[in-house]
Symmetry: C2
Subunit: 223 residues, 2 copies
DNA sequence: CCTACCGATCGGTAGG
DNA sequence: CCTACCGATCGGTAGG
């Protein structure tokens, strides 16, 4: 209602110590506050879109006043870029972890088909799992970024997608994937990324169901 | 610069007849102006997003003053809904036309595979062809709509997608499409709709290329 | 459909 | 990180 003015109606003793705890140099909760902002921004940007979300909304969701986000981020756009970069770093880390874990759990070398299964399953988790606002924001708020920031995000994105390339190539070589692998990759990402628009957690299909459906849809029998 | 104030600097004789031609009752160019607004809105909503586009931008793009869009539409949201409804009506009409034309051109009955080819090709045309801002706006500005308007758009969308259902079912029955046809439909639409994000007209792949790549990716050999 | 305008909100900042 | 604030812009309207 009165965004810029603190509401003291429930606070009859305005002068008592409240809110902000004193920070000791050791605590360095700066990182925490920044993370709080990032999380709040990711959630709101996803729900309402970048342009429809005010920096005041974000500040409030992180328990701050309207001017405070600009202590952590130069401007609103930098906040968006940080959300995207954070999301891509997490996704790339998760992806590498999932591939290593699967290879360790199996004998040693995974079939290309099993590799794709791991990649698809991880991608769906990143898109649709809990704590999953960052990547959808990156996917659907692309145009709100400046050219420079777009390039930075794009770099991480290429890194993420590069893992898929040899897997799809191997599947193409074995005849399990038909057609240009590069176009196939774009269409597979489309099929998965689109789930952001319709997937409802805990309703009918699980992420495992989606993974199997995707493999069935995209892959042929090995020749 | 001074959005609300007309710039008369290039207009030394303010009183002469200019701009708006007298409309006779027969001309009824109301429809034209409304269409101009819809076209301008579709283009801007697609390029910048709904929230980032001002009604002033749209008015200017249609050659009007800032208040005039509200003569044709109750508010900004109604303009968005109109763009989406117009887009869905065109798409459904095109789709029906394409199916009939293909059936007439062939002997009489199309194979399920050929049906899918026609549907995919038409969908890509609607998404990526010339004059193709309306459907991308519908796909990517979903959340900016109120619940009531969302339902109206959804109705037309179900109608459009209903044509695909028996085709995919037939392909599933023949073994050419593996897995739950309902999940397959969602993923196929995702794969195609995602092309809005990366397709560049006249660069490398044509819409025909994409159509064939899609069929190769999704379909198996007939059993 | 234009003119002239209003109230609300927004991104961002200076100073502490 | 808060307070207090500014200039700009925005959706929308009355009256013609």
């Amino acid at each position: 209602m009165i965004p810029d003015t603190p509401d003291h109606s429930t606070d009859p003793a305005p002068r008592r110590a409240r809110g902000r705890p004193r920070k000791t140099a050791d605590e360095r909760d700066d990182g925490n506050r920044r993370q709080d902002l990032l999380r709040a921004a990711a959630r709101l940007f996803r729900q309402q879109g970048f342009a429809a979300t005010s920096t005041r909304d974000i500040a409030a969701a992180a328990g701050m006043r309207s001017g405070s986000p600009f202590y952590h981020f130069e401007n609103k756009e930098a906040l968006l870029a940080a959300v995207m970069l954070e999301g891509m770093q997490r996704a790339t880390g998760r992806q590498a972890g999932a591939m290593h874990a699967a290879a360790a759990a199996a004998g040693q070398t995974l079939s290309a088909r099993d590799c794709l299964r791991v990649l698809v399953r991880n991608h769906l988790e990143v898109l649709l799992g809990a704590e999953s606002d960052f990547i959808p924001v990156m996917l659907y708020e692309w145009r709100s970024l400046s050219e420079v920031q777009r390039q930075a995000v794009n770099e991480l994105r290429r890194e993420y997608e590069a893992v898929w390339v040899p897997v799809l190539q191997a599947l193409h070589d074995s005849g399990e994937l038909q057609g240009d692998p590069s176009l196939a990759r774009l269409m597979i990402f489309g099929a998965l990324n689109w789930a952001v628009q319709w997937f409802e957690p805990g309703r009918r299909s699980s992420l495992d169901d989606l993974t199997e459906a995707a493999l069935q849809l995209f892959l042929k029998e090995a020749a």
